[in-house]
Amino acid sequence: MTLTDVGSAASGGGAVESHSARRRPPRRRLAVTIIPWLFLLPALLLFLVFKYVPMAEGIRLSLFEVRPFLGDLWVGLDNYARVLGDERFHNALNNTLILAIGQTAGAMLIGFGLALLLEGTARSLWFVRSAVFLPVVAATAVVGEIWRLLYYPAEGGFLNSLLSWVGLGPSTFLDHPDTSLWSVMAVGIWKGAPYDMVILLAGLAGIDRQLYESAAIDGCTTWQRIRYITLPALRPAITILLTLASIRGLRVFTEVYVLTGGGPAGSTDVWMTRVFSLGFETSELGVASAGSVVLFLVTLLLTLGVQLLRRRREA
């Protein structure tokens, strides 16, 4: 979606230029070339200062042992070797992938279900939609603290009380290596699903009602309508969600940090909690930067991959 947008904007810009190139005095042609850039300048400068310079600095730091007051020591690719050879990073990568896939799929499924249920223009629906959307706007750290209370792993815990009503539990939730990752995932899905719902709702609103009507006349079942009309029409929305969710999934940090701090036994340690622990608890900023650069490259490749796949399919 983004690429096509950028493409059309670029070709739009090009069209203006070729149009205005018709026998204009050179000064004016120059101005026409410069003006769009001037409008972009404030944003570009902000990006430069707050994004690109820190990114470049991060890449530079990843090649050094960082000691701000003693002078950094050049260590070449040693930091990368340490990251890629570290068993705990392998474990973290594994957990990150499980979490990213689980949260993306779960949030999308539930988001889709919610979107189908809450589509429409009635006032009551507007209210319910807002209520459902609340988890997205709540601060992640607060959400984490509250879920930690809900998940209290003995009988007095809120969720365990609910479980005991139906004769189950008590579950260990966050506090056993077998259940911790799934518990974190559930919080991620709870927080992510309403966001997916909103994007999918926008997609649903764009579907021509007549298609449903003709399908109904042809005697389609509900499932067939979803399968052959709704889902294909939602494809652009789903692609965008997949891209965003996989990026969000890979760099997941706050909820894990607040819920478990990566424990117990490293069972919920994800890439970013590892990087954080190295950077700010053990003060190994060089190694932490190397870890971040690796994550950045993976994210970049993944995003490009999704885009390429889409373009090829659309071509």
């Binding site: 004016r28 300048l41 007051f69 117990p264």
Partner: protein, 443 residues
């Protein structure tokens, strides 16, 4: 044509304004190097202790006329913010925090060396406290500010209700913890809502190793052992293995620890003792003020940690004053540090208003009498434990990686109850040995 040019000019002007705004945004802020700016101090504090520090700094300003800018970052964000400031080469002038930060700060060159002989009043400070500021090479890079020893807080009302004695040995401690877990000590009819031991077992900042080290020492084991100024990994010694096995029993067999211990940071842990979810807590004396409100002053007792096979050694560390590198106000830095260890400032730190916790626990100044200042037998216990049974973590160049890795291994052992303690500790020993070699302190 004319209109076009005007518009171009406007656009150019707008662009220039934007550039100016961004650039000015970048250049603002840092005031380092300005001799008239106040001296900036950070402490790792929560809201109540911040107020105590404010009082101390006010006394300093009143006395010397040197203004202090005291606006420390949030407690949980402290380490991160220090790193951020270091990256912009604009550290606060003075930082008061755990002695545990000495290694990492020194390694990154954050600190200015302390010349003990030129430090006013240095002779009045307790010699053992000075060790908190000593690095592996025998130099001093911090000034002690407060010391303490860990003591055991036990729910007295629960213990008496169950008719148990004050625990003096590990066996009695384990038995008491077991009774707290199974015999409904709070008498609310639900035998499953209380537990024996509060154990902050998260790997965050290496908390679990901080807590477990006490028991490892009490069994005669160690993380690193010292002989003649050289260090050796001792985490797989028979004594350490014995201690870890005993601790594992508390988590896995009798299950007397809180069920969410292994993801619990100290800040959360306090709540569980406060709310009567568990009745035994090995922690620092700074918690008295808070626990006097809940569970209540008469509800718990303060005792020395019960003896293990090899004694009742506990962690005795404290907070130190770091004079940070890159400061333009070295003279003021030193003056403030000297004031902070004076009897006047130390007593201000020990006697906060109601509801606030003291920032100086045991004074580092010989001329301050714990008995007279606190007038509280519980503090006498702390002073006695500190004098007789407390020890710090070793002065290896940087102990933090050792603590962190030990915490991760212990956390894993206590979470996966089927695991092989001896094998895991041997693996940990290998990793710690590598770390020791990389810190060039191996024997």
């Amino acid at each position: 044509m004319q209109r076009r040019t005007a518009r171009t000019r406007t656009a150019l002007f707008a662009g220039a304004v934007a550039v100016g705004l961004v650039l000015s945004a970048c250049s603002g802020g840092a005031q380092q190097g300005d001799p008239n700016a106040p001296i900036e101090v950070w402490t790792r504090s929560q809201d109540d202790t911040k107020k105590v520090y404010e009082k101390i700094f006010k006394a300093f300003t009143d006395k010397t006329g040197i203004p202090v800018n005291y606006n420390p970052p949030p407690f949980n964000d402290f380490d991160k913010r220090v790193q951020e400031r270091a990256q912009s080469k604009d550290l606060p002038d003075l930082v008061i925090t755990d002695t545990g930060s000495l290694g990492p700060y020194r390694k990154q060159g954050f600190l200015v060396e302390v010349d003990r002989n030129a430090f006013a009043g240095q002779g009045d400070l307790v010699e053992r406290a000075w060790n908190n500021g000593k690095t592996a090479d025998g130099k001093y890079f911090a000034v002690p500010f407060s010391t303490q020893a860990q003591v055991l807080l036990v729910r007295k009302d629960w213990r008496e209700k169950l008719g148990k004695p004050v625990p003096k040995t590990w066996e009695e401690l384990a038995a008491l913890a077991n009774d707290f877990t199974t015999k409904d000590p709070d008498g609310n009819g639900d035998a499953k809502d209380t537990f024996g031991i509060v154990a902050p077992g998260s790997t965050d900042r290496g908390y679990l190793a901080w807590w477990a080290a006490n028991y490892i020492w009490q069994a005669g084991g160690d993380i690193l052992s010292e002989s003649g100024g050289e260090y050796k990994v001792a985490v797989n010694s028979p004594q350490t293995t014995q201690a870890v096995n005993w601790l594992k029993g508390l988590f896995c067999d009798t299950k007397v620890t809180l069920p969410n211990s292994l993801t619990m940071v100290t800040n959360d842990a306090h709540n569980y003792f406060e709310q009567g979810k568990a009745g035994i807590y090995l922690t620092g004396p700074y918690m008295f003020t808070r626990f006097d409100k809940a569970p209540g002053k008469d509800k718990y007792e303060v005792i020395p940690s019960p003896a293990g096979p090899s004694g009742s050694t506990v962690l005795g560390e404290g907070e130190v004053i770091y004079q940070m590198a890159g400061s333009a106000k070295t003279a003021e830095q030193k003056k403030l540090a000297e004031f902070l260890v004076s009897p006047e400032a130390q007593q201000l730190g020990m006697k906060p208003d109601a509801g606030q916790r003291p920032v100086v626990r045991l004074s580092v100044n010989k001329n301050v009498d714990v008995k007279a200042v606190y007038n509280d037998p519980r503090w006498d216990t702390v002073a006695k434990v500190y004098a007789e049974n407390a020890r710090p973590f070793p002065n290896v160049p940087n102990f933090q990686p050792f603590r962190q890795q030990t915490a991760e291994t212990l956390n894993s052992l206590f979470a996966k109850c089927g695991s092989d303690v001896s094998a895991e500790l041997t693996k940990l020993a290998g990793n710690l040995d590598k770390e020791l070699k990389s810190q060039k302190a191996a024997q």
